[in-house]
């Protein structure tokens, strides 16, 4: 297996290097063929690894590839841990990546940076695989930052656009704020265990939880709580949880294929994956889990609301992604790690599908992204229409779709997670995910109806060119629509209730809500049949119907609501003023501090007073001294006499 793992990781890297360095000599076809073959190989081998793990019952592989450095008894190494959690992630990552590679041939057809784009997305695949396959914190951090780098490069792919290069700087810096917490978390782990190796750290989890760290002198905090919260700050950056979410909507400045691959399906779920991977640590700190669940709940509900007022097709989906990431985070906080990973998987399929469908519309519309200028596209683009419908239904959790199983059970898990107590934490989490269902259905179908149904609001020029996109675009749509529709039905039972993850995910006995739900589990069919008895179903249906009423039946009403509730509308339209706060507060504040320190500190105080002041004092002193050196003999003689007198006086009286 060793060589398989290496091939899975290195094939995309090699392809990225070849496509990146040889550039124009390779030509366009060369660049996309070599990267697609490499990622295809990774995908095929990943499927084999998954089969080996799941069907053949293969052993968990945990080994080191090479030693990065050793000093002070701290081994810093690069290695792989392949268990069922990893294998699942590998398949999801390489599958979505492969679809996006193919789709890119159509989407970027006329772009001068074609080869560069393929190089970047292959490099991304490598980085993401390094992240999920890591068996230690050093490599985790490497993958973590490497995917951030590629995200930076791809958001700013069209580097001539001012908005794109503002967005990529913002994305990198906000992620770095998260990484700031993350690296302190890793440092705390090394402080407690003197190891970076997962297995070693997990083995000493109990002893970490029994110790304290004095962050503020005199008030000891539980070491595990400190570690878990610090690591989670990293997850908040990468998985765009409030208040570090601001970069994700702006990341839509990048080309659509990477919005699907990086900013929906894979990279942004790295934080979710990381917390699930660290479940042996999180299980030992209920405080940290409470923080996780609250942050997730806030993100899930409030970011969904913003999605309702957005008019850019990609931004609506971006806010939807934020909200769904919030759902996954809530599941983590409820110790339902399997449910979080299950939703991560279904979401990867249907959200990648929605983004690629949106991209298909954008291409057909000649890069128009404003949904107010769309409408009635259904009859021009049937394949895009039907696949988008599948994606939308999966997103709102239509019974039987993949999203139904993952979201329904996620919400049930939160409902049953009474160990957080019946207090505020529990109710905030539960109500957020429940009401979020209505919000999700509302913004999803608002988007769907505004784009595909109703009046054709585009101008005639665009309308005359409007037609279905070529096969390289529609085939990936169909390929993603299939798992979006059906994968939940077949996988829900083994993944959530069949102890699929084995030892990869640890859940404390009293936290194990999924076991409780599993006790009453009667199969996928039964869950679908009983869907109508759940509030989730009615909330989703209500949201979808509201969207139909407002945007198909009575399209005049939304404007009225907007006027009546202008305060709320503005709050949502300005995204709760987070951007204003960050730009006016942190960015401008940072520059002001820099300017003050530069002008008042360096230039005025240190250089002005200390350095040049000293220089001036020296030169003034020199001026005085020069006065003494008159050149007249009697002056020197006089000075000598004074000096001699003083010396003699000192010798006589003081000794």
């Amino acid at each position: 297996m060793y060589n398989y793992y290496l091939t899975i990781v290195l094939a995309p890297l090699a392809a990225a290097i070849v496509a990146g360095l040889s550039g124009k000599q390779l030509r366009r076809a060369g660049a996309h063929w070599i990267t697609i073959l490499a990622v295809g190989l990774s995908f095929a081998l990943s499927v084999f690894v998954l089969k080996h793990q799941v069907i053949d019952g293969g052993a968990v592989d945990n080994f080191y590839v090479y030693t990065w450095a050793v000093t002070d008894g701290l081994r810093m190494e690069v290695g792989f841990l392949v268990d069922r959690l990893t294998a699942l992630m590998m398949v999801v990552v390489t599958f979505v990546s492969l679809m996006v590679h193919i789709y890119t041939i159509g989407y970027m057809r006329d772009d001068p940076g074609y080869e560069r784009f393929f190089s970047y997305i292959s490099l991304f695949t490598f980085s993401m695989l390094m992240l999920v396959m890591s068996n230690n914190f050093l490599q985790l951090f490497f993958g973590w930052e490497a995917v951030g780098l590629v995200s930076y490069l791809l958001i700013g792919f069209w580097y001539k656009r001012e908005t794109a290069i503002v967005a990529n700087l913002k994305a990198f810096l906000v992620n770095r704020v998260g990484d700031f917490g993350f690296i302190l978390g890793i440092a705390a782990i090394v402080f407690m265990t003197n190891s970076l190796d997962y297995a070693t750290v997990f083995a000493s989890a109990e002893s970490i939880a029994a110790q304290d760290i004095e962050v503020i002198s005199g008030s000891p905090w539980n070491a595990m709580t400190v570690i878990c919260i610090l690591l989670f700050i990293g997850a908040m950056g990468k998985s765009a949880q409030a208040p570090l979410h601001v970069w994700l909507p702006d990341s839509m400045e990048g080309p659509t294929p990477i919005s699907a691959l990086i900013h929906a399906a894979t990279m942004v779920t790295a934080g979710i994956f990381m917390v699930a991977r660290m479940s042996p640590l999180y299980e030992l700190s209920e405080t940290a889990l409470a923080v996780v669940i609250i942050i997730g709940a806030i993100t899930a509900f409030f970011m969904g609301l913003v999605g309702i007022v957005q008019n850019d097709i990609k931004r609506v989906i971006a806010y939807s992604t934020l909200s769904q990431l919030g759902y996954m985070t809530v599941a983590l906080g409820a110790s339902a790690y399997s449910a979080a990973i299950f939703h991560l998987m279904t979401h990867a399929f249907f959200k990648a599908l929605l983004f690629l469908a949106a991209g298909s519309v954008i291409i057909a519309m000649h890069h128009e992204q404003d949904i107010r200028k769309m409408g009635g596209i259904r009859k021009y683009m049937p394949i895009t229409y039907w696949t988008a419908l599948v994606g939308t239904l999966a997103l709102i959790g239509f019974p039987g779709s993949s999203g139904f199983f993952s979201k329904d059970l996620l919400i049930e898990a939160v409902r049953d997670s009474h160990w957080h107590g019946q207090g505020a934490v529990y109710w905030i989490a539960y109500l957020s995910v429940l009401l979020g269902v209505f919000v999700t259905a509302l913004y999803s179908f608002r988007l769907f109806f505004l784009v595909f149904h109703g009046e054709e609001r585009m101008d005639d020029e665009i309308k005359s060119h409007l037609r279905e996109t070529p096969w390289v675009i529609t085939v990936p749509l169909v390929m993603l629509a299939v798992p979006s529709a059906i994968i939940g039905w077949y996988t829900v039972q083994p993944v959530l209730f069949g102890n699929y993850f084995g030892d990869a995910i640890a859940v404390a006995g009293n936290h194990d809500v999924l076991a409780k739900i599993g006790a009453g589990w009667h199969g996928s069919l039964s869950l679908v049949q009983h869907a109508v008895q759940t509030p989730v179903f009615w909330l989703a249906a209500g949201g979808a119907l509201t969207a139909w009423f407002l945007y198909v039946k009575r399209p005049d009403i939304p404007a009225t609501i907007k006027d009546k509730l202008s305060g709320l509308y503005n709050l949502l339209d300005r995204k709760y003023y987070f951007d204003d706060l960050y730009i006016k507060g942190f960015a401008a504040g940072g520059r002001a501090i820099g300017r003050t320190l530069s002008e008042k500190g360096d230039q005025f105080l240190i250089d002005g007073i200390l350095v040049n002041g000293t220089a001036n004092a020296v030169s003034r002193l020199a001026g005085v001294m020069r006065q003494l050196q008159t050149g007249y003999l009697y002056t020197y003689a006089f000075a000598m006499i004074i000096g001699l007198t003083m010396l003699l006086g000192w010798l006589i009286w003081l000794r």
Partner: protein
């Protein structure tokens, strides 16, 4: 003559005599082939040969032992008991390799960009190289001091002759700052000589010294080294010197001369006055953290690319001094070696990255004759290959894992957490601030639409520039992906040093 017995001498004197030979060749027909070509080729051959010879330092170096290797020791001034005493260990060997690696690159980079007195320019760099290797290998106090001060002269000339408009102010500031600091170091050496009757650094390390004397000696050394590093608040000479220096001068200054300060702390301050170092360690850590945070904010607002990189250098060198002085604050039984190795790796890495960034600015300056960020924008449109390099080095400067910039910072942050949460907290702010100032510059210079006519006619890297930046890029990635060879080289020496400074000398 047995070469292996005089290995370090060859490394020192080969470039020095090569430089003198260049002065003899002179600038005749500098523009044409003939003598002009000979002069450049000679400089390249001498520096390349020095590098090749220095590789034996890596190949023949024994990692497992902490004692001095490649030792040479002959009497120099018998009446004063001064020896010509050379040797290297795991601390100095990597720094010598860095020196011999960077110098040929500087020579290539200056190939046809220096029009005024090129022979003397190349000669100054070769002589400087030899003297710097001398500093890193001298084990006799007086010899160390002689190399240390002699080194100032070529650098003074490089900035003063080939520098920019305010070069006189900058050179004076540079000279006075560094000279005043090092004079006190001489005083400390003389005191130690009076105490021991020798200038042998190992004798200095063994002799018991009282607490007051240790504190005073520490301060004397501190002034010499803190100026070189430079540490806050004696750093303001560096931005001025960098701005005025020619590209090669900036590269050598940032890549190697700053490392003299860090090296001095390890070679002299810590082992000779361990109790004095312990006494001041809190202050040293505080100054290092101030450098990281304060200077990063200052860097954010710089409008001149060279100034920005200069301030970035000061902030990154803060990690070096932070890592070196953590020993007395670490709780538990490990972490000190990690911090010190981290500081050392940071020195090597910073040498490569800051050198590369100054070369990048040089590439732009040669074309546009401006260092102002505002004069650029959208360089990626006309210089895509250059843009790729500059983004890579910027990412390395921002400490991206996989590049050398990450290695040292990671080790020092982890070690400082073992001392105090807030040390690590403040040090880790570089993740955000370092990315902010570096990538904001990249955004304004590299990305965007073509900003003006000068940018629109830029030509991408020529072969010579490509080679220089390419070699640096490979080494930055290599150390980032596999720092083990470098770290292994230093381990034994640093463990030995930690062992030594753990014992009081009172």
């Amino acid at each position: 003559m047995d070469f292996s017995q005089h290995f370090l001498s060859i490394l020192i004197w080969l470039p020095v005599f090569g430089g003198i030979a260049l002065l003899a060749i002179g600038d005749r027909h500098a523009e044409g082939s003939g003598w002009g070509g000979t002069m450049r080729v000679t400089a390249l051959i001498v520096s390349a040969l020095t590098f090749l010879i220095s590789l034996k330092l890596y190949a023949g170096f024994r990692n497992s032992i902490a004692v001095m290797q490649f030792v040479e020791r002959v009497e120099w001034i018998p009446s004063l008991n001064v020896f010509y005493y050379l040797g290297v260990d795991g601390i100095s060997a990597p720094l010598i390799l860095l020196t011999t690696f960077i110098t040929p690159l500087v020579v290539i980079a200056a190939w046809d960009t220096i029009k005024v007195r090129p022979a003397q320019y190349f000669a100054a760099f070769l002589i400087l190289e030899g003297l710097m290797i001398g500093v890193f290998s001298a084990l006799d106090g007086l010899l160390f001091y002689v190399f240390w001060e002699a080194m100032l002269v070529p650098m003074f000339l490089i900035i003063g002759v080939w520098g920019g408009a305010r070069r006189v102010y900058a050179t004076l500031k540079f000279f006075l700052y560094t000279f005043l600091g090092s004079v006190l170091m001489l005083v400390a050496f003389i005191y130690l000589y009076r105490l021991t009757g020798s200038f042998d650094l190992f004798v200095f390390m063994e002799v018991p010294i009282g607490m007051t004397a240790q504190k005073l000696i520490f301060i004397a050394f501190l002034l010499a080294f803190a100026v070189k590093v430079p540490m806050w608040p004696v750093h303001t000479w560096l931005p001025d010197a960098h701005v005025e220096a020619p590209t090669g001068g900036s590269v050598i200054l940032a890549a190697i001369m700053l490392k003299m300060g860090g090296y001095g702390f390890l070679r002299l301050s810590l082992p000779i006055v361990p109790d004095g170092s312990a006494y001041f360690s809190g202050m040293m850590i505080a100054l290092s953290l101030i450098a990281i945070v304060y200077i990063s904010f200052v860097a954010l607002m710089q409008q001149d690319m060279k100034k920005l990189i200069a301030y970035s250098s000061i902030a990154h060198m803060g990690f070096v001094t932070l890592g070196f002085f953590l020993f007395w604050w670490i709780q538990g039984d490990s972490g000190a070696v990690l911090g010190m190795s981290g500081g050392m790796v940071q020195m090597i890495s910073h040498g490569l990255i800051s050198g590369a960034l100054f070369l990048c600015v040089g590439v732009l300056y040669d074309r546009v004759h401006s260092r102002q960020i505002a004069d650029y924008g959208g360089v990626a449109n006309t210089m895509p290959v250059f843009a790729a390099f500059m983004v890579l080095f910027a990412m390395a400067n921002a400490g991206l894992p996989g590049t050398s910039g990450f290695v040292g910072e990671f080790m020092v942050i982890i070690a400082s957490f073992k001392a105090n949460f807030w040390f690590a907290f403040l040090a880790a702010t570089i993740l955000v601030l370092g990315a902010a100032y570096t990538l904001w510059m990249i955004k304004r210079v590299i990305y965007g639409d073509v900003a003006n006519e000068k940018v629109s006619v830029l030509k991408d890297l020529n072969r010579r520039e490509f080679i220089v930046l390419g070699v640096l890029a490979v080494s930055v990635l290599l150390i980032g992906l596999w720092p083990a060879p470098l770290v292994d080289m230093m381990n034994a020496t640093i463990e030995h040093l930690i062992e030594r400074i753990g014992h009081s000398k009172l």
